[in-house]
Each structure stands twice: as C-alpha cells, then as structure tokens.
C-alpha cells in the first residue's frame, strides 16, 4: 500500500504542476489524466477498488470529451506561445499552494470529519490548485478543468464522509455535466471558420 500511496502522491503533484504551468492543451490533458490516476490510487486507502476505478474513469472521460471539443476547434494542440515569465509565475503559485498547505494542514480535517492524513493532504492540494487555476483563466475549457481539479480534491475527502452509490453517481454526473455544458457554451463563442462543431 505504501508504494501505491507514494505513486498517487507523485502523480498528483506532477500532474498538478504540469497542468498549472503549461498552456498547451495536449500537456494539460495528459497532466490531468495523470492527476486523475493519482486520485484513484489514493482513494484506495478508504474506498474499494470499484469506487476508485470509477473516479479514474470519470476523470478520463472528462479528458476525452475535452480532447474531442478542442480537436473540433481546429487549433494546434501544442500551441504554446507564452514567454518564460508566465509559466514561472504559475510555478511559483504551485509552490505557494504546496507550502501554504503545510502550514494550514492541521485545520483542514475538521471540514471533512477528520479523514486520514494520506487523504487530507492531496485534498487540500487539489483544492488549492483548482482555485488558483480558476483565478488565472476565464477560458471556459480551462475553467472546466480547474473546477474538475477542485472537485476531485473535494470528492477524495468526501469519500470518507459518504460512500453511498447515489452520491457517488451524482458527483460523477456533476463532473461530467460541468464539462459538457462548458464545452457547449464555449462552442458558441468560437468563430465559425475555426469550428467544426454544429450544434
């Protein structure tokens, strides 16, 4: 179990770092997939394998929907025209979240009826990363990924509080509905010549 938890931590940290720093969609989606796998591995501490697997599947479904939406935009997946300062700034934010978490960590447990440390730490980290990404971009698809990061963090600790099948299903529906609706809303805003989507 130790190696599984360690792998989960590393995947979340690396995934969140890449997702925060890069503006390239292909890297962002890959990073989010890794992060999702990390969440699934960490969920194994408190939930049975099917529940953890379901968390992973929902995250990967979200990545698939986003990839399809972006591919319809006929944009270059690797487009990343930023200079060096902006990614460094975002990396500094990532470090800030990580270091703040270490300081604020003892007070977080009360919100979720004191889950184990191995769950609470990634929860706080994902909530922080989600919030930061939400604040630095208003692009609907970016917002959807940021909200999903935030929700993944919440869901990880909420598993400690509630594991009923209906609640798990509703959380999954919530995740996917955010993504689908924001993709549809985004499609209205794409110039016609860039869009292959016909809604």
């Amino acid at each position: 179990m130790f190696w599984i938890i360690l792998a989960g931590y590393l995947l979340i940290l690396i995934g969140a770092l890449i997702f925060t720093v890069t503006r390239s969609w292909i890297y962002a989606l890959t990073a989010f997939s890794l992060q999702t796998l990390g969440v699934g591995l960490l969920a194994l501490q408190i939930a049975p394998v099917p529940v953890a697997a379901a968390k992973c599947i929902v995250g990967w479904l979200a990545v698939t929907i986003l990839a399809i939406t972006i591919s319809h935009e006929k944009k270059d997946f690797l487009r990343d025209t930023e200079g060096l300062i902006a990614p460094l700034f975002r990396m500094a934010l990532w470090i800030l979240v990580f270091s703040s978490l270490v300081v604020l960590f003892p007070g977080l447990g009360g919100f979720f009826q004191n889950p184990p440390t191995g769950i609470l730490l990634p929860t706080g980290f994902l909530l922080g990363i989600g919030l930061i990404n939400l604040g630095i971009s208003e692009h609907p698809l970016r917002v959807s990924l940021s909200l999903l990061s935030l929700l993944q963090g919440f869901e990880l600790s909420y598993l400690w509080v509630e594991q009923s099948l209906l609640v798990l299903a509703l959380l999954a529906v919530m995740d996917l509905s955010i993504l689908v609706v924001l993709s549809i809303l985004h499609s209205y805003n794409i110039p016609v010549e860039n869009s292959g989507i016909n809604l």
Binding site: G110, F111, F112, Q113, L134, E138, P140, V143, L147, L150, L151, F154, Y158, V161, E162, S164, L165, L166, V167, A169, L170, L171, V173, M174, S177, I178, V181, L182, I184, L185, H186, Y188, N189
Partner: protein
C-alpha cells in the same frame, strides 16, 4: 403507480419528446408543455398517498417511495403545495415563452429543471438536494448562451460560484446531520452556520458572490435571465426553508434570523445602490432583482408564520414581475441591439406596450405603492424586527427597504426618461404579435388589480407555507 416516478421520470420523457419530435418550437408544443405542467400540479394536489387512487372506477394502488441506487425519493404529503407552486410557476414561464423567440431547448430544459427541483424535494436525506440544485444550474446555463448571445462569461461564472455553493452545502450537510438537537457547545455550530451561509450566499448571488449577475444580464437572452432569477432562485429558497424546517436547533437559533436580517438589508442596500450607477438597462434590473431578493430575506428574518408566508408571496410576485420583464425587455432590446442608456431614446414611442410593461415590472420589483408587490413589501416593512430585541422594530432593515424603493424608482427613471423622449424618427410598426400584446396588456392590468386587491392571490400562495409544518405550526 409510483408517485415520485410521475414527477421525476415523466418530465424527462416529455422533455425528450419535445426535443426530438418537435424540432421547431411551435406554439402547439408550448401549449402541450403548459398543459403537462398543469396536469402535474393537479396530480400533486389529487394523488392520494397511502390509499388507492380511484380513476374511472378502477382503484390504482399508489406508492409514495421510489428507491434508486440505495437512496429513496419520498413524496411526503407536506410537499404538495411546493410542487403545485413550482408547476404553476413553470406553466406561467412556459406560457410566457410563447411571446419570445428563443432556442429549441427552452422547453426540454425547463421540464428537466422542474424534475430536478422535484428530486431535490423528494430525496432522503434532503441534504443531497444541493446536487439537484447544481444540476439545474448546469441545465439552465445552457439557455444563457446561443448563437446570437455567444459570450459564455456570465454562465461560466455562475457555474463556478454554484460549484462552491454546492460543496459548502454538502460539507454543512455532513456536519448538520450529526446534531438532531441544539448542541450544548455553541462553538460546534459556528462552522456549520458559516458553511450554510457561504453555500446559500454563493447560490443566491449574495454580494460579493454576485459577479455573474451583471454579466448574465448583459450577455444572455432576457427571457432566460428571467427564468434563472425566478424559477432557480425560488428552488434555492425552498431548500433553505427545508433546512430550517428540518433541524430544530437551526430554526431555534437566533443567529440564523440575524443572518437573514443582515443579508436582506445588505442585498437591499447593495443591489439598489448598484442599480443607480448602471448605464445598461439589463444590468440595472438585474441589480433590482438582487434588492428584491433582499426583501424576501428580510421577510424570512421574521420568525413564525408571517415571515415564511410573506417570503413565499414575495417570491411568487417576483416571479411574475420577472416573467413580464423578460418578455417586454426581449422586445425593447432586439437581438444584438444595445441596451445602453444612450441607445434607448424614443423606445417608448416605438414599443409603447412593451415599454409600459417593462417599466411596471421594474417598479413592481422595487415595491412601488399601487402595484402588486407593494402589499407584501408593506407587510415586511411593518413586521421586520431585530431578533435580539424581543420584537421591537429594527430601524436599519426598514431604512434599507425604503432606500431600495427610492433608489429603484430613481434608477428606473434614469432609463425611462430618454426612452420617453421624442425620437428623431419614429418608426411606426406593429408591436409584436396579437398574443404578445394580449399577454402584456393582461399583465399591465394585473399589476394594478393585484395591487388593489392583494387578497385575490396572496392567500393561495401563502398556502404553500404549509409545506414547512415546523415553521408554521398548524
């Protein structure tokens, strides 16, 4: 026959049929959808629970519980009035959509949202109602953008705020369920109250969580904005009342009523102040609706039956005002046209009926004397008191209501004045269709009629308060 299934599953089937089989949103589709909503309202009132339903002489056994994925959806008799309230409100909103042109998903979305609001009333334990509220946000946000209103910024912000609101409510719900009675240690209550305040504050656009409201008012179809500000807000208020009704320690806590008082006063002052400095009509009315919601909260701050009944009456009148506003503003601001104060000159001459209806609905939102919201505003103004001072009148909330009235009138006058100026060239054309003019004329008459005779509507609406037996002892 399963009673919850009628209200949870059939709206989905009808929504599917409306989308697939009626691709062009004809008046017939709307008419059928209105009939269906009325049928649901009738069923809610007539269906017997725990006894067979006699239909054409044949007894049909009725079950009031539906189990799904380990949780139950239960149709309790006390929720009947709320279901009827929601069904009749939806029927009115659907009927109003006949007068506006909107996209084909309007009817399916409205029916699905209705089904989600029912689910939020039936789910046991009702703490999970916040999930269904969030899903209704997601669905309604689909109406906020279309090809002629492509900017999704307001909808994106609304979804983001609602995610946070839902999460806070879920957290509060997991804490709240631990206490069936008032905890001895008040410190234990504090985090739950804060989470509830944040959750409902985020869902109801309490400042500073209102930044989606101006964007949505600017960038979205007016009728869709009206739907969001009436139907959705109504759903959230019902869930808030169910929280109060369901937990004795919560409704016995004076802090809750103090929070309502402060939130209501704050919304009145902030909403009406911001409406004064707007240069776009849509935003101005968006802020006036915020101020109106503040009065609803001030009504709820009055402990006992008067507060809850007054709040529900205000909620119903707010829905009617916003419905008329949505239809009339749709005409005053055609697609892609500006609603900037400088571009509205002479609109009262080209669209006299729509202008009158829009002005009256705006004035009704701020509770101007003579119009149908005024009796409810007056009741709140007279009854609102400080929860900590054993019923003595509280000056600040009363001043907040008066300020919101005066500021609202000034804000609307700022827009009405250029609209009533003689335009450089008057374009004479027929204003909308016959149905559109009839709808607006009827609504103009009812603004005055219900203002003079509030007893026509108020007793019927206030009956919905019986859905909260612990708040309104029978």
């Amino acid at each position: 026959m399963n009673a919850p299934a009628i209200f949870l599953i059939t709206p989905g089937l009808v929504a599917f049929a409306a989308y697939v089989f009626f691709p062009r949103r004809s008046r017939l589709t709307i008419f059928l959808a209105v009939l269906y909503s009325l049928f649901l309202a009738f069923t809610a009132s007539a269906i017997p629970l725990g006894a067979p339903w006699i239909i054409l002489g044949h007894p049909l056994p009725v079950s009031n519980t539906l189990s799904f994925l380990g949780r139950s959806f239960t149709f309790n008799p006390e929720v009947r009035p709320i279901i009827m309230f929601l069904c009749l409100g939806t029927a009115a909103l659907l009927a109003g959509s006949m007068a506006v042109t909107s996209n084909r998903i309007l009817i399916p979305v409205l029916l699905l949202v209705l089904s989600l609001l029912f689910a939020s009333l039936f789910i046991q334990p009702f703490l999970y109602a916040s999930f269904f509220l969030f899903l209704s946000v997601v669905l309604l946000s689909l109406l906020l953008s279309d090809a002629s209103h492509p900017s999704p910024r307001g909808a994106v912000r609304w979804i983001s705020y609602s995610v946070f609101g839902t999460l806070f409510l879920l957290l509060a719900g997991s804490g709240i369920s631990l206490y069936s009675n008032l905890p001895a240690d008040p410190a234990k209550l504090e985090p739950i109250l804060i989470q509830l305040c944040l959750g409902f504050g985020l869902l109801l656009a309490f400042p500073p969580f209102h930044f989606w409201l101006p964007e949505v008012s600017d960038d979205s179809p007016p009728y869709s904005v009206s739907l969001v500000l009436s139907l959705y807000v109504g759903g959230v208020i019902f869930i808030l009342l169910r929280f109060l009704d369901g937990f004795s320690w919560l409704r016995q806590s004076s802090s809750v009523y103090l929070v309502f008082l402060l939130a209501g006063s704050g919304m009145c002052v902030i909403g009406s102040s911001l409406s004064l400095v707007q240069s776009r009509l849509g935003r101005c009315v968006g802020y006036l609706s915020l101020s109106n919601l503040g009065v609803v909260f001030l009504s709820l701050s009055i402990a006992g039956p008067i507060g809850v009944k007054g709040g529900l009456v205000l909620l119903a009148l707010r829905g009617l005002s916003l419905l008329v506003w949505g239809v009339s503003f749709h005409t005053l601001r055609p697609k892609q046209a500006s609603d900037h104060i400088a571009d509205l000159r002479g609109r009262a001459f080209s669209n006299p009926v729509a202008f009158s209806a829009a002005l009256l609905s705006g004035l009704s939102l701020v509770g101007v004397p003579g119009l149908f919201s005024f009796p409810a505003f007056w009741a709140v103004l007279r009854s609102v008191s400080d929860p900590g001072s054993s019923g003595s009148p509280a000056v600040f909330p009363q001043l907040a209501i008066l300020f919101s009235m005066v500021a609202g009138i000034i804000a609307l006058y700022r827009f009405a004045r250029p609209m009533m100026q003689v335009p450089l060239a008057i374009s004479i054309s027929r204003e909308g269709g016959r149905l559109f003019r009839a709808l607006l004329l009827v609504s103009i008459i009812s603004f005055f009629l219900l203002g003079i005779f509030p007893q026509i509507l108020a007793p019927w609406v206030s009956r919905a308060a019986s859905a909260f037996p612990n708040l309104i002892p029978q």
